[in-house]
């Protein structure tokens, strides 16, 4: 089912939770709605579900305008952040509940529930109460309950936020697998950029009710449209700093990040002046002919070595491979990989990469 969101706005008094949002989702896509808390992503999800009434704008499922359609008739499956399982009912009763309400015969409802339980790998747990299940299992019951009525759209509100780190990685793969198996158009809300990037076909990054960028994860990570997106994606965060473009190239406190020749040979024309710039920690690489910095701090994270250093007063983080032998106070020679320096204009919009 294709989804089209047209000029959707939700205002609470003067505060616009969602501001003139436009988004289209193709059939079978898995879309992540990503943003910090209070950015309007959950409000958007609840408007899609029909539980929150939009102030203005329209929502289309396929060719049908569903803006005024009540939630039970929208053919959606909704999974809540805290799963919202009915605690006094068994897993089976929870999963059959939407079917029984739709006057499906009991025998058929049970058969479909069992199929669904098999899909989400809950076989053998059908007679338990939700309280006797782990968080991950409860999550899968909630997904089974959402999918059992064969909805056209699956909506998930922060589906992984109540799980511990290891389970989170497993469960997000599980969600992806189920989504692909059922081939259902899915939107999920998350504030975790890694979660969004790892399973989404496309991500919509939101801030203050406005969609900042809507793109495939890799494209968005490499080409953030503005400083907000650049900072929101990536862990550890992108290094942001104020640097000068001068006749010599790109300069920061006497350190030359790009020479004029490098800029010209790459065909990048930037007017002289001070700009906000960003460079990702993994784009800073060891080399022979770069700038020399002193490692203030070295953190071993397992896969990587995270190095903290300063250029002038600006703090930077660089990621290198964990087999590098380096101690605090050691000097090292770094450069910013080609095409990794993102330059923003005064409004924070990305101007150019060099």
């Amino acid at each position: 089912m294709e989804i089209k969101i047209l000029n959707l706005t939700k205002a609470y008094g003067d505060f616009k939770a969602v501001d003139d949002m436009n988004l289209s989702v193709e059939d079978g896509e898995l879309i992540g709605l990503l943003g910090p808390s209070g950015c309007g992503k959950s409000t958007t999800l609840f408007m899609l579900a029909g539980l929150t009434e939009p102030t203005s704008g329209q929502i289309f499922f396929g060719d049908k305008d569903v803006t005024k359609v009540p939630p039970e008739d929208r053919e959606i499956g909704l999974v809540f952040q805290n799963y919202a399982l009915y605690p006094h009912m068994t897993v089976l009763d929870n999963i059959t509940f939407p079917l029984i309400n739709r006057k499906v015969k009991k025998a058929e409802a049970i058969e479909r529930a069992q199929e669904m339980a098999h899909l989400v790998q809950l076989d053998g747990l059908l007679n338990r109460k939700p309280s006797a299940l782990s968080g991950g299992q409860q999550q899968r019951v909630a997904i089974a309950r959402a999918l059992v009525k064969k909805p056209q759209v699956l909506l998930l509100d922060e589906p992984l936020s109540n799980l511990d780190a290891k389970l989170r990685v497993e469960t997000r793969e599980e969600i992806k697998r189920i989504q692909q198996e059922v081939k259902i158009t899915t939107l999920f809300v998350t504030h975790d950029q890694e979660e969004a990037m790892s399973i989404s076909n496309r991500i919509a990054v939101m801030n203050r009710g406005v969609v900042q960028q809507y793109d495939a994860p890799q494209a968005m990570y490499l080409n953030p449209i503005n400083a907000f997106v650049a900072q929101f994606l990536g862990m550890p965060q992108i290094n942001m700093f104020q640097a000068q473009v001068t006749g010599r190239g790109i300069e920061l406190d006497g350190v030359l990040l790009r020479t004029r020749e490098q800029l010209e040979s790459a065909g990048k024309k930037i007017a002289d002046g001070t700009y906000q710039m960003g460079v990702r920690p993994e784009s800073l690489e060891l080399c022979e002919d770069g700038f020399i910095v002193k490692a203030d701090n070295v953190r071993m994270t397992g896969r990587d070595l995270l190095i903290f250093f300063k250029i002038g007063t600006t703090e930077f983080r660089a990621l290198t491979h964990s087999d590098l032998q380096l101690r605090e106070g050691d000097n090292l020679c770094l450069r910013a990989r080609k095409n990794s320096l993102i330059i923003f204009d005064a409004d924070g919009s990305a101007l150019v990469k060099c």
Binding site: A49, L51, E72, L78, N82, A84, Y86, N101
Partner: protein, 278 residues
């Protein structure tokens, strides 16, 4: 094993002494009632009083049972208490749900008015209710004993507090699952709060079972009287026959004790949640 500080042990002892004293204090009248019901008429007024009856007069029970039409009283009481309880549960559950979950104009004002009525003493209501019942010509009917007690502000308030604590997401999930408000209430809200509802049911049933003044006011004929009125039978100008009153009292509390034993688990849990005293 963990070694415990002497102060902790003393605190524990003091705690249990107080608890035992409290338990004895609560139980004593009950035990006294049972023992007295087995004494003879002369022994019960004897000074100094005996604790254990010298002769166990089980005949008191037969005599008490025969002294008044207890089977009829019993039926009346069971009927009135059951209908009142079912009715008050229904109205309280519906009203509590409305206050807890639904949005309607004037909700806050209506709720405040509801709560304000809690401040009105029951005796005052007795008079106005009596006038109403008389005007409706309901005197000496079951209606008179039941209808005035079919709504209860306190139970409504109590249940609405419980209903409010059920997460909103469950309501929304049920909505998406094509569940109507009424269905949500009885399929999800009520089973989820069965302890609180059982507590309300028990409180209502006991209240109705023990009520004396109101049924006495609105009934005239022996056929409409309830169990508690039977106790008055043993008082005459010549004095009261306490051994028979006690025997009748024992008969009166037995059903309540049995109900309690069956529902003990729910009541205790319900009380623990609410902090209501029974």
């Amino acid at each position: 094993m963990k070694s415990r500080k002497p102060t902790a042990i003393i605190a524990e002892i003091v705690k249990y002494v107080i608890l035992i004293a409290g338990a004895l204090f609560t139980l004593l009248p009950f035990v006294w009632m049972v023992l007295s019901s087995l004494k003879s008429g002369s022994e019960i007024v004897a000074i100094p009083p005996t604790i254990i009856p010298t002769h166990f007069m089980f005949s008191n029970y037969a005599e008490a049972w025969a002294a008044a039409p207890f089977p009829r009283y019993f039926l009346n009481t069971v009927f009135v208490a059951t209908v009142t309880t079912v009715g008050v549960l229904l109205t309280s559950i519906l009203a509590a749900f409305a206050f807890a979950r639904l949005d309607f104009p004037g909700k806050k004002i209506v709720f405040s008015l509801f709560m304000a009525t809690l401040m009105i003493p029951g005796e005052m209501l007795l008079i106005t209710n009596f006038v109403t019942v008389t005007k409706l010509k309901w005197v000496d009917t079951y209606k008179a004993m039941i209808v005035p007690w079919l709504a209860n502000v306190f139970y409504t308030y109590l249940l609405s507090q419980f209903f409010s604590s059920v997460p909103e997401a469950l309501y929304l999930a049920a909505k998406v699952d094509k569940c109507s408000d009424l269905k949500f209430l009885f399929k999800i809200m009520v089973p989820m709060n069965k302890n609180a509802i059982t507590t309300v049911a028990i409180l209502s049933f006991i209240g109705s079972w023990n009520s004396f003044l109101w049924p006495l006011l609105v009934t005239n004929s022996t056929n409409m009287r309830v169990l508690s009125h039977g106790l008055v039978r043993f008082q005459s100008e010549a004095g009261a026959q306490y051994q028979l009153i006690m025997a009748a009292s024992c008969i009166l509390v037995v059903p309540i004790v049995i109900i309690y034993l069956f529902l003990r688990k729910y009541i205790l849990e319900g009380m623990a949640y609410t902090g209501v005293k029974g």
